[in-house]
């Protein structure tokens, strides 16, 4: 079997798909826009549910793609994709071309740009940060305010850029709730004197072990959960952040002074994915992610025969789901060639 498959995107989904396609006997080119493989995995320090280091997963994926049948082409962005008599021609932004017998799109997601929710003051107030900024602090083992002090009170805002018609994202990003709980615990671990408050609309603890971690956060780490979406943030003269919410369970408006506010940025269809969707004629859904051929038994299949999807380019997914989804692509690719021969 000397079929050549191009996998677009070398994040978790792309690397897993490339590795498994190679194991199945295909020649694989793994194309990545950045200089390094790994995608968002590189920005995360420890992962839920077990708080293992993200580098462990990266090591597994590196090993998986480090073989003769896989050519990694980094620093290259695929912008055009055309099917000519069953052979795909791919054009890069850099002006090069390649051909493939089948294509796996694994263009992933972009984190929601939190500055778009202006009322939360990201990019305006120094100590309003995002979940991804906080991971950067965890990596350095140090959580400090801009002036170098240790925060005494930290707030976490769920659903930033998710479930929000005002930014055009009606869907739930699904991972932010558990990320909030994980990060709340990690803050308390590093700073035992610091109080942490999670402002949520619903606690969506649907994944394996999530609910147990939520309970642990209450029981062992004393995290405070307040049911109400933060409506606005302002800064006091003493540089404290003042947040307003309704404590909906108490039925009263609530204000609180915080030193640091962490915004749980949601997931959006990646910019690279959007460009590719447009140029290749790949269908997208109302949520702007790629639309799968069937929600139940065709989630890896696109509207173009021979083009397949893997991972979060189709919907928000955690790493476990992404790896399973990427593996499932291989069986659809095998069926595609079997039916053609």
């Amino acid at each position: 079997m000397n079929k050549h498959i191009v996998v677009i995107g070398a994040g978790v989904a792309g690397m897993e798909a490339a590795g498994q396609l190679s194991n199945a006997g295909f020649n694989v080119s793994l194309v990545e826009k950045d200089e390094n493989t790994g995608g968002h995995l590189n920005g995360w320090y420890k992962l839920f549910p077990d708080r293992r280091r993200s580098s462990e997963v990266k090591d597994y994926l590196d090993k998986l793609i480090n073989k003769d049948g896989i050519k990694v082409i980094s620093g290259t962005t695929i912008e055009k994709l055309v099917n000519i008599n069953g052979i795909f021609s791919l054009e890069t932004r850099e002006g090069t071309e390649m051909t493939a017998d089948a294509v796996v799109v694994a263009t992933g997601f972009d984190l929601f740009k939190s500055s778009r929710k202006e009322e939360y003051g990201y990019g305006i107030y120094d100590n309003v940060i995002t979940s991804s900024d906080l991971e950067e602090m965890f990596r350095k083992d140090k959580i400090v305010l801009v002036d170098g002090r240790v925060p005494e009170n930290v707030g976490i805002v769920h659903c930033v850029g998710s479930r929000d018609e005002k930014v055009g994202n009606l869907y739930c990003s699904k991972l932010c709730c558990i990320t909030a709980v994980k990060q709340a615990i990690e803050i308390r671990e590093l700073l035992p004197e610091t109080r942490v408050f999670c402002f949520y609309m619903d606690m969506r603890m649907g994944g394996a072990h999530y609910e147990e971690i939520y309970r642990e956060a209450q029981e062992e780490w004393g995290i405070n959960f307040i049911r109400g979406k933060v409506s606005e943030v302002s800064e006091s003269i003493r540089k404290k952040l003042i947040i307003k919410a309704e404590d909906t369970l108490a039925g009263r408006p609530l204000k609180m002074e915080l030193d640091m506010l962490v915004l749980m940025a949601g997931m959006e269809m990646s910019e690279g994915g959007r460009i590719l969707a447009k140029s290749a004629g790949l269908e997208t859904g109302e949520n702007r992610f790629f639309a799968s051929a069937d929600n139940h038994f065709g989630s890896n299949i696109s509207n173009i025969p021979g083009v397949f999807y893997a991972g979060t380019c189709t919907a928000p997914m955690n790493i476990t789901e992404t790896i399973s989804h990427a593996r499932a692509t291989v069986s659809d690719v095998l069926n595609y060639f079997k039916n053609r021969s």
Partner: protein
């Protein structure tokens, strides 16, 4: 008759079957976005009226949906229609129109609106 100090308390229970939800139905019919509230409380957090009086649009909406209309009737007049709640609502509920329609429904005495 002597007063023994006993009274009969009105049941606190929401009697869903007996309650009249016609006002909520009237609002939903004229402003369908009324249906999609998820009770996040953004509207009431940002509300100036709610900061000083017992007025929570989130609470009033859920009371209407359960047919507990009295509290709404007594408080719906407090809204100043400034519309800040519309700006923060993540569900795109036209909250100002909800208030206007609720007032209208009470005035029209929709069905047997309290």
């Amino acid at each position: 008759m002597s007063n023994f100090g006993f009274t009969i308390s009105k049941a606190r229970i929401i009697d869903y079957d007996a309650n009249d939800r016609s006002i909520a139905e009237y609002i939903a019919e004229h402003e369908p976005s009324f249906r999609v509230c998820i009770e996040c409380g953004c509207c009431s957090a940002t509300c100036t009226t709610g900061n000083f009086t017992r007025f929570s649009l989130r609470e009033l909406q859920i009371f209407l949906k359960r047919g507990e209309n009295e509290l709404v009737r007594d408080n719906i007049g407090k809204c100043m229609l400034c519309g800040k709640c519309i700006l923060v609502c993540p569900r795109g509920v036209n909250t100002r129109n909800v208030v206007t329609l609720a007032r209208e429904a009470f005035n029209k005495k929709v069905k047997n609106a309290v």
